[in-house]
Amino acid sequence: MTLAVFFGCTFIAFGPAFGLFIFTIARDPLRIIILIAGAFFWLVSLLLSSLIWFIAVKASDPQDERLQKGLLIFGVMFSVLLQEAFRFLYYKLLRKAIEGLVALSEDGCSPISIQQMAYVAGVGFGLMSGAFSMINLLADALGPGTVGIHGDSQLYFLTSAFMTMVLIFLHTFWGILFFHGCEHRRWWEIAAVVIMHLTVSGLSFCNPLYVGSLVPSYLLMAAAAAWAYLLSGGSAQNLRRFLLCKCCSRKGVGDTLGLVGYQDCCWDGERLSQWLKQEHHPLVSQTRGAGDFLRPWSGCYLSLEK
């Protein structure tokens, strides 16, 4: 337990979340506020669930091991349900906030969409959840000691860090899924989020059998990531074009074609060719067909054409 463990676990647990924060949230003050408010809502849910657990424990016999274990399981499940309930409350609050922002804006558009809010809210929940799980461990990792000297697992810090990381990601994706479900009134998405959360928390009861808790959690995270990506407008085609079409800058090619405001880096070929033909764009009138413009291996083909 040294600085190496401390820094290693910190970066494992919080590195990706920190990256997400720096690149997507830190620039926009509104998003920072939504992040902190999300963290606050998670905190309140934890407070209430701790209160219930505390009362239950105080009212019960402290010597009865099985009862205490049962109360702990109950506490964990109740906490998960309460967290999701507070996620719903936060969704309601953000909906109201969007209406307020729209009313105040100059052009009738909210400066932030509900999808972005869903993402930031998820990160807020995740960061607070991760911080509460991990910070005390990190503080202990700085001091002297031997991990697992009494026969417990020696990988305690490392697995805690990995579990924290996966939980932060999961909260982010659950935020997107949950808000999408609330927006479009799809109860099964909401139910899926709740069930996933209960599953991940329940799997953590397998610890220290880490293969039973970490591996399924990561698989669930991958599934949630894919689902959230699809719900946010992503597709396999988008992903492929993004990965292949590296040097296309949005702005350059967009300006070339006069596609103002087109968001994606790599466009859907069919849509673009249709649009070009429709607009009788000068580039299309050349001998090459529109489809030729969009072959990824030509690199910055559109700028070349210009």
Partner: protein, 458 residues
Amino acid sequence: MITFMNNSDSEEEPCNERTSLMSAESPPVPSYQDGLQASAAGEAQAHRKRRAGSNRGPNNIAGGEMSGSGIPVRESALENEEEELTLKYGAKHVIMLFVPVTLCMIVVVATIKSVRFYTEKNGQLIYTPFSEDTPSVGQRLLNSVLNTIVMISVIIVMTVFLVLLYKYRCYKFIHGWLILSSLMLLFLFTYIYLGEVLKTYNVAMDYPTLFIVIWNFGAVGMICIHWKGPLQLQQAYLIMISALMALVFIKYLPEWSAWVILGAISIYDLMAVLCPKGPLRMLVETAQERNEPIFPALIYSSAMMWTVGMAKPDTAARGPSQQTWDAAEDGREHLRSPSHAESQMSETRSPVPTHPITSLEELEEEERGVKLGLGDFIFYSVLVGKAAATASGDWNTTLACFVAILIGLCLTLLLLAVFKKALPALPISITFGLIFYFSTDNLVRPFMDTLASHQLYI
């Protein structure tokens, strides 16, 4: 205090404590948090600056409106625009306050967790005369309540004294008081702090080096805070002195007294700013009548660097030389609509070369900044520092208090945007902070500890 002088009274408090701590004969040094003193001193300077042709000059027509009864007139005129602008800039202002508050708290928590000096019990201030080393819980509670009563009375007396000084225009006295106070903070407390940090990390430093370091730090600080300096340097100094003051409080206030004092000072803040006869409110109104900035030099200003009020191009040339970087003009925090005398505040915040602003509305639109009294910084940091010092070595409590205070600040700024007048910044944040401190320490900590021991995740 997010709006007008919320913190003036809270600022007076440390001054007294320091005085009694140092020596009985020392003159009453104004506390940093004494916004009144700060504002009075600032006002004196602002007064001089105004006569020197501040950007109010060109706005004589508008200025006439602004002074005295003009303020409501202006407000009604710009009501709609202001409302939009206020809310449009709202999120940015919140972040402009989140960052310094967070920095101050980080400095305090880092010091508390590493330097043992500030958590050792080493006597009490004269403002908390009753000791808490009593055998019974009831006696201890009674002593802490009595300590609070003494402290709050001192604060009330000092605030009223300051309001009287301000009312009778004893600007020089207030100004001198403020300077002495900053001198003590910047030199003596920094010296003590540096000494303790060096002791903690076992770093040797010879006296000549120490002298040069402290001298430079203190001299630049005095210049930045009371005269002119780069905005960010001034902000950094204000954050540092707030952190130093908070550390003094954390060290010298006994356990239970600290919590009761935090609660009581929020209530006092609320009453002093909102009640019609509250000293702080009277101070704000007097300053508005005289059209002077309130509480300069003891208020953290996050105003953006607007050019000096250039309503007319001919004043633009004079602007920067006279008004740029007037650190002393920083007033208390108030998310004011531009129609207030705030425009003078913003004028001091512009080191950028002037560019002519053709309309007053434009000028005001750019001048939006947020000001928060240093007393607010200090008491937020006291709360979080106490949580870090006494919460059973638990970081969750510190984190919970931190988030609670930030949310309270956010809500207060929201109310400020809605009501557009001076509001106390302490009550909501301190209430949330106290609730979260006690509940996290007693309810959440056992739950999280049990979960961690079984490596469960929720």
